[in-house]
């Protein structure tokens, strides 16, 4: 092919490429048209390899001719890339008009902890931030840890206040988390700061507000110079953090053999804000937290010298707190295993549109 024929061929190919490109609708089509002409084996591209067949004198011109043809088609490709690109953007924009960005997302089912566990973890977090360790103890206990070491000898009237599940093997189901006070003292000695969340059992008739199986969290702080003022401050901080609001508390005398002095800590009723309602039996106060300064006999039982160390202890009803926090009205649901009562199913079911509760 002489140079003239080459030019003719190229201009024909240019026309063809122009038509082909104009017919393209997608970038894929465009890419195949591009390689049809400009690729290594394409109709223009393959001609590039023929330069060496021309006499050396013509090779410069042939090269220039081919290059400019190549470049011209390349420019056409660019133009059409632009055309198709903006068409696709426009099309994309057009389809997006039906999209509702305000629809809810698709949720993952992560699972759920029991309401009592949720509250327990909050309490644990508060005390971990205060440098308390978290301890655990057995649910099947001995009389010694549950009563005797806690200054409740046999025939003590306080045993009546906590009706006990007794076992034929001579042990009992712990009526409180307090036995772990002794266990923790034996384990760590003083100074000591720990909390003990756990399950407790009392032999009583079950109804909407009484359960024979419930959770408590025990707290114990032993150090030099621990005061009632310290106890009040820590209790106030605990309740404010867990219930996420400020409210009034009051301390009044309460009798528990393992503390002296002993207190009942009441909080202003969350339902009526202290005005008096059915929940607080018109007193404006809810009894929430028995506590006190650890009795010297208990320190001694735990192997700690009461002349050197003192401290405070408390027992918070976790089940009760969970009921308050999650609005559980009937305590029986807590051990029912019925997920309808225990899980915020909206969490994965989807947003609530209407709720008549």
């Amino acid at each position: 092919m002489d140079v003239g024929e080459l030019q003719q061929t190229l201009s024909k190919l240019h026309q063809e490429a122009k038509a082909d490109l104009a017919a393209t609708k997608t970038l894929d089509e465009l890419r195949s048209v591009r390689s049809k002409y400009l690729g290594k084996t394409g109709s223009v591209g393959s001609l590039m390899g023929t330069i060496k067949d021309y006499p050396p004198k013509q090779r410069g011109e042939v090269g220039k001719t081919l290059n400019s043809a190549n470049k011209a088609i390349g420019e056409l490709v660019n133009e059409h890339t632009e055309r198709i690109g903006s068409a696709e953007v426009a099309a994309d924009a057009a389809t997006s008009t039906a999209f509702d960005p305000t629809l809810p997302g698709e949720r993952s089912r992560l699972g759920s902890v029991h309401p009592v566990t949720a509250v327990q973890w909050e309490v644990e977090a508060v005390f971990e931030r205060l440098g308390f360790t978290i301890e655990a103890g057995p649910e099947m206990e001995t009389d010694y840890y549950n009563f005797e070491a806690l200054n409740i000898p046999p025939m003590h009237p306080a045993r009546d206040l906590q009706d006990t599940f007794w076992l034929k093997n001579g042990m009992l189901l712990r009526t409180q988390t307090s036995p772990v006070q002794i266990r923790a003292m034996e384990k760590f000695g003083a100074p000591l700061r720990c909390i003990v969340p756990g399950r407790c059992f009392r032999y009583e008739t079950i109804d909407a507000s009484h359960e024979n199986t419930f959770h408590q969290v025990e707290g114990l702080m032993i150090d030099r110079n621990v005061s009632i003022a310290n106890l009040i401050a820590v209790m106030k901080l605990l309740l404010n953090e867990v219930l996420q609001r400020e409210f009034e508390i009051r301390l009044r005398p309460g009798y528990f053999p393992f503390v002296e002095p002993g207190f009942e800590l009441d909080i202003a009723c969350l339902i009526c804000n202290g005005k008096g309602c059915a929940t607080c039996k018109r007193t404006g106060w809810l009894e929430l937290l028995p506590c006190g300064m650890v009795h010297p006999n208990v320190l001694q039982a735990g192997g700690i010298d009461p002349n050197e160390y003192g401290g405070f202890a408390f027992g918070l009803g976790l089940t009760r707190l969970a009921m308050m926090k999650f609005g559980i009205r009937d305590i029986r649901v807590v051990n029912s295993g019925d997920l309808r009562n225990l899980v915020h199913s909206d969490r994965w079911a989807g947003p609530v549109i209407l709720d008549k509760d």
């Binding site: 699972g111 360790t133 978290i134 301890e135 007794w166 093997n169 009044r252 009795h295 899980v343």
Partner: protein, 799 residues
Amino acid sequence: MLISVNWLRDYVEIPDSLDVRALAERLTITTAEVEGVEHIKTGASGLIAARVVSIDPVEGKPSLKKVELDLGGKSARVVSAAPVLRVDELVVFAPPGASTLESGKIESTTVADLPSEGMILPGSAIGIPASDKDAIFCPPSMKPGESIDAKMLDDWVIEIDNKSITHRPDLWGHYGIAREVAAILGKPLKPYPVVDLEKLSDKKQSEVPITIDDANRCPRYSALKMTGVRAQAAPLWMQTRLGHVGLRPIDCLVDLTNYIMADLGQPMHAFDGSKIECIEVGLASDGNTFTTLDGIERKLSSEALMIQSNRKSVALAGIMGGLESEVAGETQTILLESANFEASGIRKTCAALGLRTDASARFEKSLDPNNTVLSIQRFVHLASAEFPELQMASRLSDAYPNTLADITVEVDPKLVTRTMGHPVNEKQMTDILTAIGFGVESKGGKLSVKVPSYRATKDISIPADILEEIARNVGYDNIVPRLPEVQVRHFTANPQHITERNALQAFCMGLGYSEVHLYIWYDEEWLKRLGFKPVAGPVLINPSAAGQAQLRCSLMPGLLQASDRNRFHADAFKLCEVGTVFREGPDSRNQSRHLGLISAKRGKGGDDDLFAGLKGDIETWAWQTLGGDLQYEHASKNAAAPWTHEHKTANIVAKGTTIGTVSVCPLALRRNIDEHLSAWSIAWAEVDLDLLHDFKVESKSLRRVPEHPEVEMDFSLLIDAGSPYATVNENLARFDDPLLRRVTYVGAYEGKSVPTGKRSLTYRVLFGSPERTLGEEDVSAVKASFEKHIGSCGYELRR
């Protein structure tokens, strides 16, 4: 316990301006919890005493009586519904024009066609609900027509929670409460009104012989004989007060002992003096019976303490008198008992007899032995006013073999201040303690505090007790909260706590399980449905319900029950419980903490998918908690519980220790529970979390991205269906070639393209070299040699 404010006013000045509710609030904060405050308002006016002249029946109306009354100079005819009326007795009467809130204004009217000019008032109309419809009788000292002071009928009643005063014997009577109120209000407590001891100590009088066999059980017994008493009504003020505090007025003698019990907290008993010559206090003979004054014959154990006279039982000491020696209508002489009994003996006897009385409830609190004599002095003081002919028939007899020791507590005021975290000076401390009856002496910087006998029986013995008295009277609300200053200390973490929190976080805050808490005892009915007979384990003596005595040794029965409950409301759910299981044995292993998991889905044939999914969840948790892979071992079929599948069961093995089991519920079990469950698939696992405490989480290095690209290839092996996965792995791992970097398991397949008796296991293999990029020839060579190795193991490649 109910407290009448009118009654308190005998002992302490309570300003009229003081709101009783505010006083109650102060009592709650300083002394004992007030459960309620009630205002008794009778609205009574114009009431008079009237003498019953005659009583006639009303024809056709057996519940009504036609009564003629003497109103002092005039008479009245009324029709009355009072169940008991006696001629000549005085009753409280509302003539026309009188009124009460309950009855309204009384007018002359007609009842059952008969004229009725007024009303014989029922107890309820004047605030004695215990007497309800009964007429109120007036003492003989009143005259017909005498008007009744309405002021004493209106009162405030404060209800104190008994549980808050179990440790305070002094608060079981009005005088003790008055002492606290006086301290709260800063007013003096008036002396307790009694007759002089001398009056009762006439040497010319004989003594009542008292023998006490067991001085521990009966530290003190005081008695006095009196004549000149008779059956009559107590004064109206006393009846009213008794009524206000929930005690039913009965008769002057009984009311007097009840009044003193509610006044001082000391129970007393009046025997018919003609039937008792001497007092012997001793233990009962085992198996003897005794008829108490409620008419019930009671079988005694040798632990019961009895009051006897000439070896004949006359009372269950501290609990209830006997029927035979009861004061009756004709009684003119009484023997008054005022004793002190040891608390735990009374408790034991009451528990054994199933009998508790107002008296025993008080003795159980360890009463002040000094009150035995004081209450007799009080009795004579009150009785003299009611019985003009009252005379002593003995001198005060007092056996006090077991004297209460004086208690003096040494208190360091600095320690008090430090423990309160609130400044209180010595004078304040002294004032507070003195106001509630303590004796205080300052000695060398310390306070020597003498405990009054009414607080010394068990209530107060150590400095912390004195601190409480000071602190509560300062007012806990006056103490400014302050966070403690501490010594930092490191505590080793509790492995149980860490393990459990990790498990719950993994399963319930990521893997989709919902945590439940279930009871720790088995329910026999449910076990029957499961067809499960547990091995012997700890058993409750007093279960909450029949058939719920044995403690669980597995979490699965409970979780299956919860599953059966939840299947009605969901098509699929996953449950998780972390709880205690129990077994008989040495202390260290008689209970452990288990993790129980359930994955349930409606639909038949889902077993294998659920089983694989559950294992995947466990592996994900194990990776987080233990930092590595688990192994499974084919579990033996022996001694399996009914929820264990005969074939589809594996032991979960972590670092060589079997920590649990994973399985699916067999169809037979699901059918046993409920036919509907046959269309469900349920996979379960139970893990002993205690076994994980010693496992350390190993931090593994992250895999480095290779510098030279690696080639990934999947190989599917056809193996005998019975050939275990672990063996295949071991065989594959024997292939040793420098270019083989890694082999991982992809999945198993049994299906159409796999011949019967075989299954296909797919493995993903990475070939590569840390030094260079492999060429095609390297790859095909190593691939060929790997395939040859597979062949040599006896496995066929699935193409």
